[in-house]
């Protein structure tokens, strides 16, 4: 006939422990997913390496992403642009990835690149302003020139944007209508 609360609680110990394990498991699972299964580094239709282009061959970013300093969108190079260079690079013409490119070109099909960096439709983002403000591409996109496959390095979510705007004291940088439409 005990009236102690602790005694009454004792049988709840095991379910509580089990619950704790589930919670820990949740975190582990989410972490594992983020690490190994996420969309941060998708496999692209052509194994394009920024390292080879940007570091080994020292091509500047805006040689291909030509719209970055002019329009809201950086732009991916057109297939014709890719072919324009690769026609004059005979050394790799026979490599399987370049053959894939050639196939796209011959069929006049665009290459279905998978988007790595994306913002929701209600966000107004312009590359032009950021480039004109003197930001290097790497400040948001990370060391792209070292990546064989592009990996997202920033969440591109609102806290990340706001942090930077706050840090740099952007004029009206925290007014909602600066970025939301």
């Amino acid at each position: 006939m005990s009236i102690s609360v602790l005694d009454a609680l004792r049988p709840a110990k095991k379910p509580a422990l089990l619950g704790l394990v589930v919670v820990v498991g949740l975190f582990v699972g989410a972490w594992v997913h983020g690490k190994y299964f996420s969309d941060r580094s998708p496999i692209q239709p052509i194994e394009f390496s920024h390292r080879i282009h940007a570091t080994d061959n020292e091509i500047p970013c805006q040689h291909c992403h030509i719209y970055a300093d002019r329009t809201p969108v950086a732009g991916v190079p057109s297939v014709s642009k890719c072919m324009g260079c690769h026609n004059s690079v005979p050394s790799v013409r026979e490599s399987p990835e370049i053959l894939k490119l050639a196939t796209y070109w011959e069929n006049r099909e665009p290459i279905p690149w998978i988007k790595v960096y994306d913002v929701p439709d209600y966000v107004h983002f312009t590359h032009k302003r950021h480039i004109k403000a003197g930001l290097a591409c790497q400040e948001c996109h990370g060391p792209v020139e070292t990546m064989d496959r592009i990996t997202r390095v920033a969440s591109m979510r609102m806290p990340w944007c706001v942090d930077c705007h706050t840090e740099r004291n952007v004029e009206h940088g925290r007014d909602c209508w600066t970025c939301h439409k």
């Binding site: 820990v24 719209y67 329009t71 665009p110 690149w113 988007k115």
Partner: protein, 760 residues
């Protein structure tokens, strides 16, 4: 220690097998949940599709503007279309175009609904079942054109090309020329146009009064006093956007000078609402009122011409007192209007709408013309300015069939004289009274071909439907009619790649010519409409560049394309010589409208009116226009019959009561709407709804008052007198909720429209 630890370990090992499994299971569930969560919050895969070869002027995320011509009504406004990533996003007025000057009306802006309309015809169609059943099978262009070409070709060889007829809507510019050439080469004289809204009466009256066969430029912008007889110049009359610009200027564009406008019409239109004075003269007597004002003007000695006495005699019968009794406008008002009309400053009288749609239409407009003459408004700034020759030798308006032409066509069809009927951009089955029996006559035509972007009541009778590009996907050119006082021509160019397997009308004609063979492909040798237009412009350019322009044609062409318009402002206006007075005096006849139906049997006058949104019904398939509240009543999606509150009270009619409106020609059922600004004894029904086959937005919605209009012709213009029908109404006992966006339309003493004042 051991003693304590021992049992503990023991205990653990004792439970461990089962518990371990449980813990592992729990952990597994957790991890799986975590992964699922990660998968759930993962963003959708989006693709980044590059272009294969980028177009020259393409920048992602940046809009480009292309200039072209609006085809939503016949004003011929220049428009700019905003294009992003190859899609049309918005239409605005072309700022350099003299007609629209950067502005655009609701209908023009809804042109995007034409382009992206879900009900567009996407491939050539052949009738697969009984005519009118709407059962069509898809065929290829090649098949369609070959069939048609051989059929028409055979008729041509047999010398029966006259049995081929082409009926179009109002077509201008070089497309009109192409049609004419095509039919001419074929050997058929039967190329006609039918446009319900064409101001045939004004044109005919100007020919009679002034000897000028054109629509002149009415300079509302510089008028100080504008007297409008039924012309809804802000909504539907001739060139609403241009007139609206002018109206703005008339009101507030000049420092310290505010023009006054007076509107005479039985039912208040947009222009009536804008007017300082709205006078509801008895329907059909507006021309009489004009003569009454003219009488008062001359009598007061405000006409200073040498032939004053002759005018006095000619107008003798129209003394204000007589006219007052006829028109139900007070004598005092008539005299006052005459004084104001002839007061210092510029004045202008215009006629249109119901005034120009009675059996006396031309006589009425002639009376208004006389008024302009007497006040010395001809060729004056702020008056009536005659256009110079149009930029191109275009035949604007001269091919208009009018009701008379259409009756002839019906007769020919019924007599079996028509073998092939080509129909483009016109919907006579809808826009003619039912009594004309156009639809029934069509059944006698062995082959009907419709060139159209949409299914409508007329294409429903077609054996072949050849889908056309919309005006935003086509090459073309246009000369605004009426002009703007100086030569102007606009180019229309495709602003987006065509959406479906359609062709521009001009291209269809050119292709058809090739299939027909004979001399046609030789004479019509252009591969495309673009080529044809460019060549014509080159000819025109070479003709005109005698003046010594030193740029070459290509540069001129590019500049014109970019601007969308070419014009010669400052070039001499048209004939400025004032026409002889004697012919004008002679032209004045008694402008009394004869109404179909006796007053005792049909106590009400039917006043069908064009709306700024649908005009003759063409706009009804555009969702933006269906959802645009009617400017005067705020009604959306449907038809209504407007009644004066007093009349409604007498008959015990409430809003929403379905009335049977019966004319000598037929009857329709339409809900009543109490409208405070309509003359008692008049029933106004908007034109535009009541389609039976015009896509998902227009079909089976409201009624078409044109169908119950009696088939009466105005003798002088040959056009349908659509405002000369009497009706009787009957309550059916049924009710229908009229969908309006307005709540209460009285200010209840709240100062919403501003404090009352008299600032100028």
């Amino acid at each position: 220690m051991a003693a304590i630890a021992g049992p503990a370990i023991n205990k653990m090992s004792k439970i461990s097998r089962r518990d371990l499994l449980q813990f592992i299971g729990a952990g597994g569930v957790g991890v799986a949940g975590g992964i699922l969560y990660g998968e759930g919050v993962q963003r959708n895969v989006e693709f980044l599709i590059p272009q294969v070869v980028p177009p020259e002027d393409y920048s992602p995320g940046v809009a480009t503007w292309y200039n072209t011509v609006c085809n939503q009504c016949s004003a011929g406004c220049g428009i700019s279309v905003r294009i992003r990533e190859g899609k049309a996003k918005k239409i605005e007025g072309n700022p350099v175009h003299p007609v629209s000057q950067g502005r655009l009306c609701a209908r023009g802006q809804a042109g995007l609904n034409v382009l992206y309309n879900p009900d567009r015809i996407r491939t050539p169609l052949q009738n697969a079942a009984q005519r009118g059943s709407g059962n069509y099978a898809e065929i290829s262009w090649d098949e369609a054109l070959t069939t048609l070409g051989s059929r028409i070709g055979r008729l041509k060889i047999e010398g029966k090309a006259g049995r081929v007829r082409l009926l179009t809507g109002r077509t201008r510019g070089h497309l009109d020329e192409l049609f004419a050439q095509f039919m001419g080469l074929l050997g058929s004289e039967h190329y006609q146009q039918y446009d319900f809204t064409y101001p045939a009466a004004i044109r005919a009256a100007n020919r009679i009064s002034f000897g000028v066969d054109q629509l002149p430029y009415y300079d509302i912008k510089h008028a100080d006093f504008l007297l409008s007889f039924g012309a809804d110049y802000l909504g539907t009359w001739l060139s609403p956007v241009h007139h609206s610009l002018a109206y703005g200027h008339l009101r507030q564009g000049r420092q310290g000078r505010r023009g006054k406008t007076v509107q005479i019409e039985p039912r208040m239109s947009l222009s009536g609402a804008a007017a300082d004075e709205w006078i509801a003269a008895r329907p059909g007597t507006e021309g009489l009122l004009a003569l009454g004002i003219a009488h008062a003007l001359v009598n007061a000695g405000n006409y200073l011409g040498s032939d004053r006495d002759e005018w006095s005699i000619a107008l003798e019968a129209y003394s204000p007192s007589t006219v007052s009794a006829e028109t139900d406008v007070s004598e005092e008002s008539i005299v006052r209007l005459a004084t104001e009309f002839s007061a210092p400053g510029t004045s202008l009288a215009i006629a249109g709408g119901a005034t120009a749609a009675g059996t006396n239409a031309v006589a009425s407009v002639v009376a208004v013309n006389a008024l302009n003459y007497l006040a010395g408004n001809l060729g004056q700034r702020g008056g009536v300015i005659f256009n110079s020759d149009p930029a191109f030798s275009a035949t604007a308006g001269s091919r208009q069939a009018g009701l008379r032409g259409m009756l002839d066509l019906v007769e020919a069809m019924e007599a079996g004289d028509v073998e092939v009927l080509l129909v483009h951009d016109t919907n006579p089955v809808y826009a003619l009274p039912e009594n004309v029996r156009f639809r029934r006559a069509m059944e006698n035509v062995p082959l009907i071909v419709a060139l159209s972007s949409f299914h409508d009541e007329t294409t429903a009778m077609a054996d072949f439907i050849l889908p056309t590009n919309t005006y935003l996907e086509s090459w073309g050119d246009d000369v605004p009619d009426p002009g703007v006082g100086f030569p102007v021509a606009s180019i229309s160019q495709p602003v987006v790649a065509k959406l479906y397997d359609t062709l521009a009308v001009g291209d269809i004609i050119l292709l058809l010519a090739r299939r027909i063979g004979g001399e046609l492909p030789i004479r019509l040798h252009w591969a495309t409409m673009e080529e044809f237009i460019k060549e014509r412009w080159r000819e025109e350019y070479e003709l005109r560049s005698a003046a010594g322009e030193d740029q070459d044609f290509e540069a001129f062409w590019r500049a014109s394309l970019e601007a969308g318009v070419w014009g010669q402002p400052g070039a001499a206006t048209g004939d400025e010589s004032v026409p002889s007075s004697s012919s004008m005096i002679a032209s004045i006849t008694d402008p009394v409208s004869k109404f179909a139906g006796s007053e005792s049997d049909y106590p009400f006058v039917l006043h069908p009116y064009l709306t700024a949104t649908f005009t003759d019904g063409r706009g009804a398939n555009l969702p933006w226009l269906q959802e645009l509240p009617d400017p005067m009543t705020s009604v959306v999606y449907g038809s209504w019959a407007e009644l004066n509150p007093v009349t409604a009270d007498e008959l015990g009619i409430r809003e929403g009561d379905i009335l049977e409106v019966e004319s000598p020609a037929g009857s329709i059922r339409v809900p009543a709407l109490i409208f405070p600004a309509i003359r008692p004894g008049v029933i106004a029904i908007p034109i535009g709804q009541g389609h039976s086959a015009y896509g998902r937005y227009a079909s089976d919605r409201g009624v078409n008052p044109i169908h119950i209009v009696a088939t009466q012709v105005d003798d002088q213009s040959g056009d349908l007198a659509w405002a000369a029908t009497r009706v009787r109404i009957k309550r059916t006992g049924e009710r229908l909720r009229i969908i309006k966006t307005d709540g209460v339309t009285r200010t209840l003493g709240r100062q919403i429209l501003g404090p009352k004042n008299d600032h100028a």
